[in-house]
Symmetry: C2
């Protein structure tokens, strides 16, 4: 508005606002904002609303009913499937627990916490069976960390996989996790000198099992009983799960019932025939625990459509299993030029980091990209670099730069450039 | 266990674990942990569980059905009431949105976001009516902040008010809030030089109205549309609320429909006959916006009972409208001696801070207290100091040290010492 009448005022606002707001109004419906008619009084302002404790446990607005987890489709076994987080509808870094993605191998067990036990045995001085009451009495810590399935964006290996952010990147969430450091429990039972690996087993009927290096168990592994302030949800491991910050999601074994200390990795199904990375020469990368540095633009994405040219704030998420995100670069011209995005504080260790970048769309077709750099200096690769190094046979650990093509009609598609 | 056989090992574990775990086992059920019988296989491990997307929007375990918001009781108008957050059941610093306390004056309006408007007028250059689409396109920020009703712990003025943490301190929550800085919108409309205060009006049928100093509006006030990652819930202001970090909760006007810039405070009902602090001389403190430094032990609390002597981790929350918490002291002997508690990182500006303190209960009656100190050096006062300064006629801004008495039978009560 005034930016058109008074460029100086516009520029001052640009400098102070830091996001080109003078320009923001060009072409946006804000230009019609200064209206003559009075503010109307809506019907909901004229009668009392729903009572307090309408929902003793709160629920989303009925107008948000389409913001839910979604699955790619049915599977032969309904409990052996996954559901994705609607990242295109979310803001900030915390994922609401009701929208945290799922991946189960035999469905969601309904566990009575008073009957649940954790057995710790094998190469230990004092084999112990813990009740939930035993565990919750021990010293706890709370940490905000991302959780990502190693299969997230797995369909991008062979080219653009899906025209939806929820289905391409939705096996990703970030929560505040509270639990007992695994090192505390291992200290209680006493690891024997020859102990080097730990088998973690879930109480689901798939007996989900993974081998955990003792070094990780003693470093920062948690026995988690709470998520975003409340006890775990059934689909996330209630009443107890393992949590391994920065490692692939399935290793954070849900419904944890058993920890066995041994000398060697246990070579379970989920680390041999599954969750290994097939290479072009027919071999497989095994024990690819770490989730590599990655980012994605969550607005605008294929799940959205730009109605008109003008100002938009590009927003997205960056994360790394290596620690903290140091920088995110954004390109609005298909990678020809890059600019540094603003990182939302606090930037936390192995948590999602929200980035923002002001953009004025001129209405011409273009490609939007983000590129994350972590504190170790690792730079998120291009898809061509990743495929050159690993081929296209893997279903896991795809962490390349994501490209969104914006067409002149505002339709956004998944491309690789 | 081994701490009894081997004091050195016990002490090493104490030093490494930092929480006296050798001692932790004395009297705890962990001492019976090393069992001879094998780990039994529970029924839920023998059959497939619930399918993926059992709940497209997730819900708590049925075993947690008692963890809900609660109200002190009915009121003449069901929509003019409050519900409290079950702090005694929560962990970490994030409050799950479904458990964030409520305070409404005329119930919860069911607002269609496409029909909702925000009018900004009064002493502005460009009166503007914003749609939600207009607002969400503007640059946003996300911040983790506490929200507390100024009436929280109001029943403690005249002595111990209730034998429940949920009912004494439950008008308190902490979430990640995402919205547009109010300064961005005020810049767009252009505040006239004589503008000094802003009237904020809600779209509920009580037309909740408060006067906001322009300095606060330009400093860190937010027009919030998302909470813990998802859009606001109806009871928290869907689709738009004001948020004033560190100020009393009712000023963060929900269902925000109007902002009017004026020269003086507007002297609305909620800042004259209500939400002012009655003093002994019959006068009232007005515009007591800031929520002062405060803390409370959330475990153990009157909502719990200690079954046996032995190790417990005392845990609680501290917060201040002045910025960051610098230190929390804990006393386990009714204030005769104080020790510094561990603060859970990250310690954020005007967010809840979780503190933890290892404690071994010898079974004797005692009193537990916490005392917060903020970065400005302000020390949370004793109840006697607060009453001496302000009398007992106020219902608001009680921020004294909370004392929990532990009886020999493990029953915990609310006392003032």
């Amino acid at each position: 508005m005034s930016s058109k009448k008074n460029p100086e005022a516009g520029r001052r606002r640009f400098l102070r606002g830091g996001a080109g707001l003078g320009g923001a109004l060009v072409g946006a419906s804000l230009t019609t904002g200064a209206r003559a008619e009075p503010l109307t009084v809506a019907p909901w302002s004229k009668t009392p609303g729903e009572p307090v404790l309408w929902h003793p446990y709160g629920q989303p607005s009925p107008y948000e009913k389409n913001v839910v987890r979604r699955s790619r489709g049915a599977t032969p076994i309904p409990g052996a499937n996954s559901s994705m987080t609607p990242l295109q509808n979310l803001h900030g870094i915390i994922t609401p627990t009701g929208l945290v993605f799922e991946r189960h191998h035999a469905g969601i067990p309904q566990i009575d916490p008073e009957q649940h036990r954790l057995a710790v045995h094998g190469l230990v001085a004092r084999p112990t069976i813990f009740t939930m009451e035993d565990l919750v009495r021990l010293p706890s810590v709370s940490r905000i960390h991302f959780l990502e399935c190693s299969g997230n964006t797995g369909r991008e290996w062979k080219g653009p996989g899906t025209a939806s952010l929820q289905f391409s990147h939705g096996l990703l969430s970030c929560c505040e996790w509270t639990g007992v450091p695994l090192s505390v429990v291992l200290e209680e039972v006493g690891i024997k000198p020859e102990g080097a690996w730990i088998l973690a087993e879930g109480a689901d009927s798939a007996s989900m099992t993974r081998s955990i290096p003792l070094s990780k168990a003693l470093d920062d592994a948690l026995l988690v009983y709470a998520q975003n302030g409340e006890r775990l949800r059934p689909e996330h491991g209630y009443p107890l799960r393992l949590f391994l910050p920065g490692f692939e999601g399935n290793m954070s074994v849900k419904w944890l019932r058993r920890l066995k200390v041994g000398r060697e990795p246990f070579m379970t199904r989920e680390e041999t025939s599954k969750y290994t990375d097939s290479m072009p020469d027919g071999t497989a990368r095994q024990f690819t625990f770490l989730m590599e540095t990655k980012s994605v633009i969550t607005f605008p994405a294929p799940d959205h459509r730009l109605k008109e040219k003008g100002f938009y704030e590009i927003s997205g998420l960056a994360w790394t299993g290596r620690g903290r995100i140091k920088r995110v670069d954004v390109s609005t011209d298909g990678g020809r030029s890059w600019s540094v995005a603003q990182l939302q504080e606090p930037v936390l260790d192995r948590a999602l980091t929200r980035f923002r970048f002001p953009w004025r769309w001129d209405g011409a077709p273009t490609v939007l990209q983000s590129r994350a750099v972590d504190e170790t200096g690792y730079v998120q690769p291009k898809a061509t670099q990743l495929v050159e190094a690993r081929g296209v046979e893997s279903n896991y650990h795809f962490n390349a730069i994501q490209s969104w093509r914006v067409a002149s009609d505002g339709v956004i598609t998944n491309v690789q450039v």
